[in-house]
């Protein structure tokens, strides 16, 4: 079978017509399947973190902690929220009209940048919480163990997150390789 024999099948595909009303709904961000989910999760996260910022000082004795611990906690939380917002805005960015290879390259750069900042911010955020809650603690053997256990859990989460990002980056790298390998062969 020749490739040209696929042409009639290709031409006839896609006759399942969507109405203009259906198409119109698809142009609205509010109906976007993926972004809607991300937006809801982001909104919940921001509300919870902001509420925590409002109450932590009274509930967790912020006034009895040193200034550096309060600053660390607030900075960690604000960075976390900012990183989420930047990630969301980055996803909102429309695809470019450059060629496919360039587009995948640009996307790879964006994902690499996002992954770096996301992991860094998670690390800073986790550290800020530890700094805040341990700043006035008199450590006993048990408390050291709890701290060690929490640190291990946080490290595991960061490693897991880093693996997910790596898998995504690896796939994009493979796509770039697909483009480049063939160009090198014909060059």
């Amino acid at each position: 079978m020749e490739l040209d024999e696929f042409k009639s099948g290709w031409r006839n595909a896609g006759n399942r017509i969507k109405s203009q009303e259906d198409l119109e709904k698809m142009t609205k961000l509010v109906n976007h399947p993926v972004i809607k989910r991300i937006k809801t999760r982001l909104a919940i996260q921001i509300v919870v973190l902001l509420l925590f910022l409002l109450v932590y000082y009274d509930w967790f004795d912020g006034d009895q902690k040193p200034l550096y611990a309060n600053l660390a906690l607030v900075t960690g939380l604000v960075l976390y929220v900012l990183n989420d917002v930047v990630g969301y805005l980055s996803l909102m960015k429309p695809v470019g009209e450059s060629n496919l290879r360039q587009s995948v390259l640009d996307y790879l750069m964006r994902v690499k940048r996002l992954s770096f900042f996301s992991l860094l911010v998670t690390l800073l955020y986790s550290s800020s919480i530890v700094i805040f809650f341990t700043s006035t603690i008199v450590f006993t053997k048990e408390k050291w163990l709890v701290l060690l256990f929490s640190t291990v859990i946080v490290c595991q989460l960061i490693i897991l997150s880093s693996k997910l990002w790596s898998r995504w980056i690896k796939k994009l790298n493979q796509q770039i390789k697909d483009f480049d390998v063939d160009d090198n062969r014909t060059a």
Binding site: M1, E2, L3, F6, K7, G9, W10, R11, N12, A13, G14, N15, R16, I17, K18, S19, Q20, L23, E24, M26, T27, L29, N31, H32, P33, V34, L91, P94, V95, G96, E97, S98, N99, L100, R101, Q102, S103, V104, D106, Y107, L164, Q175, D178, F179, D182, D183, R185, T186
Partner: protein, 156 residues
């Protein structure tokens, strides 16, 4: 502007359908990609001045969206080493057998090869294909030959 856009997309929506079917396996993922492409076309529409053909503009955005946009994590789909004869019964009933087999065969190509073959099947020139994909024109020819051989093996 919205009315014009909707008419344009309505008239050429088979391009979006085909790219969605080519790059996604499940019905749900195809629907998501279809919607994503329509959304991206809408965002890009103000910049479309009609300097290129509508189909060129739509393919460019649709392919860029399929390859370089956030995709939700999904379960790994195992491909059959060969096409099962009753493949159509394994997938949604609304897709005809021929169309199903066509997309199953094309689905075994790499993402870059899928882009080339889609443009070839819609009769774009090598020059247009090179501009959309970023390959050189010579490379398009070389890759098309390899794709033909690969597809012969797949449908043997």
């Amino acid at each position: 502007m919205e009315k014009q856009f909707l008419q344009l997309i309505h008239d050429h929506q088979e391009i979006i359908y085909k790219i969605s079917a080519l790059y996604r396996d499940s019905k749900e993922d195809r629907e998501d990609l279809f919607q994503e492409i329509v959304y991206q076309l809408w965002k890009s529409y103000p910049g479309f001045r009609g300097a290129s053909k509508v189909s060129t503009w739509m393919y460019r955005i649709a392919l860029n969206t399929a390859l370089a946009i956030y995709r939700k994590p999904r379960l790994k789909i195992d491909h059959y080493p060969e096409l099962p004869p009753k493949l159509h019964s394994l997938r949604e009933e609304s897709i005809s057998e021929n169309e199903d087999r066509l997309f199953e065969a094309l689905g075994k190509l790499s993402d870059a090869e899928k882009a080339i073959v889609a443009l070839y099947l819609d009769e774009f020139s090598y020059k247009e294909m090179a501009a959309i994909t970023g390959f050189s024109e010579t490379n398009i020819g070389v890759r098309l030959n390899r794709i033909k051989n690969k597809l012969k093996e797949i449908i043997k």
